[in-house]
Symmetry: C2
Subunit: 275 residues, 2 copies
Amino acid sequence: MKQRIPTIGVFDSGVGGLTVLAALLKQASAANYLYLGDTARLPYGSKSQATVARYAVSSAHFLVEQGAEALVIACNTASALALDALRAAVEVPVIGVIETGATAALQSSQTKDVMVIATAATVESHAYSVACHERGMRAIEKACPLLVPLVEEGWIEHPVTREITAIYLDDLLAQSAAADMAVDTLVLGCTHYPLLRPVIEETLRQHDGGRTVRVIDSAHVTAEQVAARLGLEDHAGREPELRCYATDSVVKFRALGTRFLGRPIDGVELIDLGG
Amino acid sequence: MKQRIPTIGVFDSGVGGLTVLAALLKQASAANYLYLGDTARLPYGSKSQATVARYAVSSAHFLVEQGAEALVIACNTASALALDALRAAVEVPVIGVIETGATAALQSSQTKDVMVIATAATVESHAYSVACHERGMRAIEKACPLLVPLVEEGWIEHPVTREITAIYLDDLLAQSAAADMAVDTLVLGCTHYPLLRPVIEETLRQHDGGRTVRVIDSAHVTAEQVAARLGLEDHAGREPELRCYATDSVVKFRALGTRFLGRPIDGVELIDLGG
């Protein structure tokens, strides 16, 4: 019997969630995908819970109207601030990257002490701390507001990016030492950060005093967990159908998005969510 | 006879326009002020013309409904991308900071060759080049997308900020030399940049080969030109009435805004422009 192919909606404030989509296309290919980047209202990371929840719910409604039978909230900030509002607003299953990231940290960490870097709004919500605590871990979080603009400027391997990354991570390692935590895992709590993974790993090697801190990028674990949770069979080699939507310029979405998806993006449709 | 006190609406995507408001409160005190920061939809600087125009027009309508008899568009991006749309949408006079900045550059420059730093959207619009050309000058523009996040991170005098500022300005000076321009003026084409003025001036002294480049901050010239254009008499010592509105968290508006206005901000009202 042929398995029915479900349609999954993937949502982010911008193009960062395309790192999660890329993993889904590869690891959960027995589905078709809708991707919405709310680029007219980004970034969410510096805004309040009420505003983020309003934006995320209107985006989720749009994806469900387009036929999404499950939603992956690829935006850490929306997962942190709006998951309850989203689950109340739509009838389909909603999977957020904070829960999947915390589950991956649990699998990685021996000491059960983990570090998280994320946007200001995600850190202020303490959603990662709560999710880690629920899984028997301690988490220490740090907002790194300059990393997203550095990625968007394209300064991926720039000396200034190394310097800023070192400032943030040194501070985080000092805080974890002061809290007497034996951290062995760092969660990248923002979809832009995987592009800085080489710089982050190199910085950790130089700054963590010889310990080995493992870096968790929630894209791959999210794809794994989505496939498991939705019971998707493995269809190796299948090319999922994909439709993309953006609320601001599709030209910019394609130009910037290609770097995150790792391949060219064709048809992107401009939509108006009334912002 | 007592002069009637007009109400002026000042608009920005966020708190940056408070630098312009601060100058108006001081230099054009024979008016009362409404200030709107469209913080739920900021930043405008990375978005498309259509989106920026839509946001700016809805903001302008709000200020006129609240009684504004003239509008000062303190946001460079909105002035660059939406001035025509704004003038078509409201009946009151609309004054934008690009025109006032270009007029100030004309007064400052001996060589009539000027440099402009601004957001990506402002630079892509070439609004400063057009405004300078109309006034008989040549302008060379550069987008500096990291400067706003650095200011918002509070790294005003941080070594990394000096380094990034030097990278941007070196590039701009090299481009102007390659174009055979004798630049003697730099326009700060974004309301966040005045906070970096000391770093920018120090960098210019070190990097422009001994020439003296004058820095133009449009806040003061805008206030001067608003007072002249609206025929405001000098009421030295008068304390204008001020009401502030924001579309996202008023707590954040007050916290971040105080740095830009240079004094505490009381009552800020949260409004919903439907974004």
